[in-house]
């Protein structure tokens, strides 16, 4: 079981790299988990973009207010 999960994650990571999504392995695992929960993939993609954007914004904020 563990081995299979490992294999699957490898395949998915490879895909992710090939498509240059910029997601880390940890993040990919979370995405797969969310998908397994039945989340709408379109929405999930939107969520990820949003989070990224917010993260950038927060980073920028943090940089401005040291």
């Amino acid at each position: 079981m563990e081995h299979q999960v490992q294999q699957a994650m490898e395949v998915i990571t490879e895909m992710s790299d090939m498509l240059n999504t910029g997601l880390t392995r940890e993040q990919l695992a979370l995405v797969v988990d969310l998908c397994e929960k039945g989340v709408n993939p379109e929405a999930l993609a939107a969520v990820i973009t949003e989070i990224r954007r917010e993260a950038e914004a927060l980073k920028a904020e943090a940089a401005h207010t040291p």
């Binding site: 999504t21 910029g22 990820i48």
Partner: protein, 796 residues
Amino acid sequence: MNELLEQLVGTFVPSATGPAGRSQLVSLCHTLLTSRLSAAPIPDLFHTSEAVQRSLARAGRQSHAVAFADLVRRLESMAVVTRKWSVVHVLAALAETGDVPLPAKPLPRLLMPTSAGAASSTLPSAAVGLSAAAAKEVEMVRRGAGEGAVRAGSGNDGGVSENELLRDVIYALQGIDGRVVAFDKRAQAFAVDPRARVKAGQANLVRRVAELGWLYMRVKAFVVQASAAPSLGLVGQALVGALQGELAEYFKLLAVLEAQVAAGPGAHGQALTLRRLVVWVQDPLVRMKAVAMVADAARGLQGGELVSTIHAFAKHGDPFVAAFVESLLEQVCVPFFAMTSRWMFDGELADPFGEFFVVPNGAASADEAWHGKYELVDGLVPSFVGPDLASDILRIGKSVAFLRRACGVTDFAFDGALVGAWEAVTYASASSQLAGLVAAASDAVNAAVRSTLLGQFKLMPVLDICRRYLLLGQGDFVGYLMELLDDELARPASQVFRHNLLGILETALKSTTPIADAELADKLDVMLLEASPGDIGWDVFSLDYVFTGPLTTIFTNDVRAKYLQLFSFLWRLKRVERHLSSTWQRHVNSASALRQLPELDLVVRKCHILRNEMAHFVFNLQYYIMFEIEGAWTELVELLTSDRTHLDLDAIYGAHEAYIDRILERVLLDGSAEELLSLITQIFALISKFRTTQDVFYDSAMGEVARRAAAEARAYERVLAGEWGTTDKESDASASSYYQLTPQARAQLGAFNVKYDELVTQLIDMLNAQSASALRNLSFRIDFNEFWKSKRSSNP
């Protein structure tokens, strides 16, 4: 799920940031996930991977594309991941975002509520790889999230939103498959995809609206198919044009509906809903139903048939449909009326596709310009025209063509007002005006045809010549001609030559009552019938008339054959009459001489009586025939010269034909009274035989008279010479043949008498049995004093 989200946020956002911001972000993400984002295009792994491969290939990374396909295959074989498509889809959606620095724009409402809506709308959706619709949804949710209110599309979690259904329905109305609503070829209807989660009620509404789309597809298919057909024809083109106009109207409606859908729900208070749409499309639906009905019925039809078919729908009970069909007919009938007016006013067929109900008959020769050249095709007569009007229209066009081509009348034209009124005729006014206009045109052209025939082409004088010469009405001419022809026609038929006869005819014409119009007299001609062996000149001689120009339309070959038939009968009758008069001449000339032979008195008297009986019969037959001809002639003249304008060329021809037929019937030549005719022929033959017998008898009687005179002279001479005046030898030798003759002649005459009596009695009996009063009249003429009747009763 929240935990997973928190973790996810945690991987992106450095933990240094405040927990407040993080939790806010998590809740936003949650809202986004639970909200009804546009449904995924097609939850199909293969489809998505194909799309990815395509985009990789486009970017020039063929090897990656192949590798990706391989990876997908591997993933497919793994049981751990159940929602493989979702994973791949997320990856595909996030493709090429890894190293693109996103614009670091904070959510204005979320994190900086003070600067609300500043520049929130510019989201580079294309770069993100999200569909535009999804981006819009995100925008919406973001706005809604700022106010803390979650807007759910239809409240139907995971189902299809009403707006989306609306969009699909609008597609369906254009005959295009949408995401959820697609055309089911098997059921021949638009149906909601059973996999999509659509409420039954909504699906029902969709079906009701989508019927319009189905109707549209039918009409569209007809229009496409019909315009591609090479034999479409002008009426068909008009119909296609009209239908295209209908479709254009329909597209206008669709544009309005589409704009409403695009404005989206909530834009106004009056948002478009499925239910509202159902109501809105009711009228267009009825109209499109009518259009499709017409299109279905019109398939493969042409011209008049097409007009009739559409016209049948004008009686539709629904006034809405009836009005629509009438407006359609208005347009469809335009080429039809144009063709009709061209035909009626110019006598020309402008019908490249064979749609008009008048068709030319290619097989007809030039002589049949009137009778056979144009025909009516019943199936192509539009039902609102009807067979009577159609035949009137046919005749008007034929008359115009006749005037222009056969008669060479170039200046004939219809009254301008009439033409103008006709040009203005449309389908709507046709029912009230058509009959009147056709009648007016008919009157005008008939009057022109009649006056041309009677004036320029001298129909009446020609008819008169036919009666007087071909039907032997001109007594002095006929008598004289017979006298002149006597020698010529006594020869065998093979030795009779037309040119000799023509000379004689000319002489006869010159020395009798002249024909007023010399030009017409020149056309009298001699015709020799085909001779059978044993015929003499009398049997083949016939007078003829050379008909030219438009007169051949009235004097067709049929009619001329009838004239010939009549002539030959009347000619024979005249000849028999002539035989009788020659025997009478003989009788008168030799009467005083025969008084010297008192023993012949009885025979001569018998001859005389029989001849008188025969003469009585022949004269009465002749009177009867002349009376019938004159009667028919008077009627014909009255009909043709009266001022009745409805007399068209057909009627003129018909009147003349009826005149000839009536004479033929009365003269027993129409084939209905073969027996009567054969009796009469037998009587004629008997009369001829009687004449020859009498001639022989008179010859020998006159010979006897001469012999006696000579014998007497010789006796006188001998007496003068002092001898006996008479010798027995002499008288016996020559008298023996004479004395044999008397009983022979008597017996022959007796036989003639019996035969003649028999024939005439039979004839009278037969005439009395006829239903026609004219024939009974003939029997009365022949047996006016009941002589034959008494004879028959005394000698049964």
